[in-house]
């Protein structure tokens, strides 16, 4: 089978000055990442995540085994043309400004002037650095450098995006933006290898994960399979009356299960985004990055516009990086899993009396619960903040990718 990323018995041993083997950074790693998959490589510091990525990209030579990217060698320029890479820190030329930086990387991809210009402007808009695009990168804060680092990884509209700790140093809006971007790229058929130790970020966007420790895979599989607590159920409702709560308590009391009823708290991330959005609406000045929620057109289906530009300017197709066909031109910013299956159970619960707490008994087996999906107008793509502010619980913001529909839907 053809994988986007594949390692076969990949091993890396770091030696001392005398050539004596000292550290097994990666040990017999067998990894298969399918096309159109968001894969998370997790692990504590020094577990071999970054070493694995460096071997995939040809920056390190494996001591043993093989690493394949898009079916080829990660050091092959033809393969590199289809890859975007954001290293663990944004290693950029400090003397170039943001626009020059992106122009340089665009030239390395052999992009024509027209395409380069269009993409640079779109990416600067997307990462919120347009206002400071003439400042040299050396004067940027860590978060701003991270943003421009992300932009350089996207300038070729890559088929495979390798992100090593992409949210390090980013503010919550930047973090959210990267997660949204990952979801969008996944929906366009891109493959993403996300390397991080920020578990919440990985959990929010990844289809499958592998946990590394000591250079070996300790656990691997779909996020749902690894995280789902089959012995517990969670039901989230709109605000209901105290009487309804009492009836639910009574029912659960009767079932003899341990339960807890409380009002959910807003996530600090959501609150922060809301606050910054309000400040931006008041046009308060900033010398840093502007928090935006835009995604570059060419990354979200604007490739068709570029094709027209190519035709008009006569730019050859060979100059373009290979692009995977776009699956959806416009996608909703936040997908909320459906929970229709649990509606009946909820109705039954809200019509019965409840008790406060009951001693645990046999866990009840209930089917999936469905919740209403918030209305998504075409304009939502431009108003992600509004969507985020109006969104529901964190679980509801998980992607609706393959194998994800039941993640938060079990009660």
């Amino acid at each position: 089978m053809d994988y986007a990323v594949e390692t076969i018995g990949l091993t890396k041993v770091f030696s001392d000055w005398w050539g004596r083997a000292k550290v097994y950074a990666v040990d017999d790693l067998n990894l298969q990442i399918q096309h159109n998959e968001v894969f998370g490589l997790l692990g504590p510091n020094g577990s071999g995540k970054t070493t694995t990525i460096k071997m995939l990209l040809g920056l390190l030579h494996p001591t043993k085994g093989h690493a394949l990217l898009l079916g080829g060698d990660g050091a092959d320029p033809k393969i590199n043309a289809r890859i975007g890479f954001l290293p663990e820190e944004s290693y950029l030329y400090r003397f170039l400004n943001a626009r020059e930086t992106l122009d340089f990387y665009g030239r390395l991809f052999g992009l024509s002037r027209e395409v380069r210009t269009a993409r640079i402007e779109a990416l600067l808009d997307m990462v919120g650095l347009k206002a400071v695009a003439s400042r040299s990168v050396g004067t940027y804060s860590k978060g701003m450098a991270r943003r421009i680092g992300l932009a350089q990884a996207l300038i070729n509209d890559p088929d495979l995006l390798i992100l090593d700790e992409p949210t390090t140093g980013l503010d919550p809006i930047g973090t959210r933006q990267i997660k949204d971007l990952i979801l969008k790229l996944a929906e366009r058929g891109k493959t993403i290898l996300l390397c991080s130790h920020l578990l919440a970020d990985v959990e929010d966007v990844c289809h499958r994960i592998a946990i590394l420790y000591g250079g070996r895979i300790q656990a691997q599989g779909r996020v749902k399979d690894l995280l789902q607590q089959t012995d517990k159920r969670q039901i989230v409702t709109d605000a209901i009356s105290d009487a309804a709560v009492d009836r639910i308590r009574n029912i659960l009391h009767g079932e003899g299960v341990k339960f807890e009823i409380s009002s959910p708290m807003e996530r600090l991330e959501t609150f922060f985004i809301h606050t910054v959005a309000e400040a931006q609406q008041q046009a308060q000045p900033t010398s840093g990055a502007v928090s935006t929620t835009q995604i570059g057109d060419f990354l979200t289906g604007g490739a068709q516009k570029e094709s027209i530009i190519h035709k008009l300017t006569g730019t050859s197709e060979a100059e373009k990086p290979v692009a995977t066909p776009v699956r959806a031109e416009k996608v909703a910013e936040t997908k909320v899993p459906k929970r229709e299956g649990d509606k009946d159970v909820l109705r039954q619960l809200t019509t019965q009396a409840s008790t406060e707490r009951v001693a645990p008994a046999e866990p009840s087996q209930t089917g999936p619960v469905e919740t209403k999906t918030p209305d998504k107008s075409p304009q939502t793509r431009k108003k992600i903040l509004d969507d985020l502010l109006g969104g529901s619980s964190p679980k509801e913001q998980k992607p609706q990718g393959e194998g994800k529909e039941g993640d938060s839907g079990h009660a």
Binding site: L60, N80, F104
Partner: protein, 457 residues
């Protein structure tokens, strides 16, 4: 090619942002005009011009050489040390193209700076007679002896092998070899005897003459002057350190032809300081139509000592063959060839060494190349005792070293000696075609297989 140029552009920007590069550029921009205003030389206009060109060109050449070494090493080692290489090499560019791009960037910078500073030196040189308010005589002199490019002819080395062999046999027969040359190998003895015999051919005892003949002498303009540049040595130095000489310059084949002789012969009595370069100027119409020219020297009895013309630089004939501007441009090309080599050397060193070690490595090569004559001679003298070991190990490596001192452009510009294209071609072939490409090949080979993210514990 587009990717290579992208790297080259970034390399130029990187170099211009380096403080050391800025310091060198500012230093030259300040020093060159000051030098032009303050040099005096020997007090004459010609001396002033010669000193300025010599100092200005040497200073520019040296600082640009240092700058090339630093930039070419820094651009590669900095990318590796600060890890920008991670985001560059993972783009669709071959490692070899990255090296070539960086090299192209360094050379673009070199060409730009060399043009700038060369232009400043040239401008100051051309304006100096006006600036110092030179007399018409002085202007005329520098027009003939400095603002020109003169072909240089040196007498060929005479074949003395038979005489040397005969002398060797004689010494051996008389058992004098071991007395004079104790423990010397035969090859070394023959070399010393050859030098001795050749020097005898360049020595004029009191009352005797020396004759040098040249063929195919073709000046650019027969109405211009011909120059005999010489340096005396003398067996007994007189108190005033002056030596007399009786010179005959022209078609000496016609000495017996009387007043009807077609060619002109100039007789020039001289009194010159010993061990100092001097020039005799005569009209170039003394050269025969077939390009024949003879120079005779008679050691007059006034000297009371043997006059010797050193083998290396005792005598040469100079005549105008090109313009000063053309020669100046070729001098710049000679410097550029040196910079090309140093840039390739820097790339090679940067491909596998850290910045400070690579700098040290390149500076050693640069300084060794600047005194290559001395280095080669030193190793040759060592070879007397370790001949075989030297021949098969060090000698090959020493021959690979650049010989900057042998193609120093100021040694041509100061005496207004022409730099011939054939000479530039030879230097380019050796320094660029062989030494630079060898360095570059090593750089590409090492960089291709290098682990850029290597960690040594």
């Amino acid at each position: 090619m587009r990717r290579i140029w992208a790297v080259a552009r970034t390399t130029v920007r990187q170099a211009l942002r380096m403080k050391v590069a800025a310091a060198f550029i500012v230093l030259l921009l300040i020093l060159l005009p000051i030098l032009g205003l303050t040099v005096t030389g020997d007090g004459t206009l010609k001396g002033r011009l010669q000193t300025f060109v010599s100092y200005g060109f040497s200073l520019t050449s040296m600082l640009l050489s240092f700058l090339t070494i630093i930039v070419s090493i820094y651009t590669l080692t900095s990318d590796i040390e600060h890890r920008q290489i991670y985001t560059v090499i993972t783009k669709p560019i071959r490692r070899s193209h990255l090296i070539v791009g960086k090299l192209l960037g360094v050379l673009t910078l070199d060409v730009a700076l060399l043009t700038l500073f060369g232009g400043i030196i040239y401008g100051a040189t051309m304006l100096m007679p006006w600036f110092v308010k030179a007399t018409p005589q002085e202007r005329d002199e520098v027009d003939r002896q400095f603002y020109t490019a003169r072909m240089s002819l040196v007498p060929p080395q005479p074949d003395v092998s038979e005489e040397v062999e005969a002398l060797y046999q004689k010494l051996e027969k008389n058992d004098q070899l071991q007395q004079i040359y104790r423990n010397y190998p035969k090859a070394e003895i023959l070399r010393l005897l050859t030098n001795q015999k050749r020097l005898e051919k360049r020595a004029a005892p009191v009352g005797q003459r020396l004759l040098w003949e040249f063929k195919n002498v073709r000046p650019l303009d027969p109405n211009q002057s011909l120059f005999v540049r010489f340096k005396y040595d003398i067996s007994v130095t007189p108190p005033d350190e002056q030596a007399y000489g009786e010179w005959y310059i022209g078609d000496l084949r016609q000495l017996g032809a009387g007043p009807d002789a077609a060619g002109r012969i100039y007789q020039v009595p001289r009194r010159d300081p010993v061990r100092t370069f001097r020039e005799i100027e005569v009209p170039a119409n003394c050269i025969a139509g077939d390009g024949y020219l003879a120079i005779g020297f008679i050691n007059p009895p006034l000297n009371q000592a043997v006059v010797i013309f050193p083998i290396e630089d005792g005598l040469e004939v100079l005549y105008k063959a090109d313009t000063f501007t053309g020669n100046f441009i070729r001098a710049g090309i000679l410097v550029l060839l040196r910079l090309v080599f140093l840039a390739c050397l820097g790339m090679m060193a940067g491909s596998f060494l850290s910045f400070p070690v690579a700098i040290l490595f390149c500076l050693v090569i640069f300084l060794t190349g600047s005194v290559s004559g001395f280095v080669v001679e030193s190793f040759d003298s060592l070879s007397q005792n370790i001949g075989i070991v030297y021949t098969y190990t060090v000698k090959g490596l020493v021959q690979l070293l650049p010989q900057f001192d042998k193609n120093n452009p100021t040694t041509f510009l100061v005496p207004a000696r022409i730099i011939r294209w054939a000479f530039i071609g030879r230097v380019a072939l050796v320094m660029v075609g062989l030494q630079s490409l060898l360095s570059l090949a090593f750089a590409l080979l090492i960089f291709r297989f290098r682990e850029l993210a290597r960690v040594i514990i």
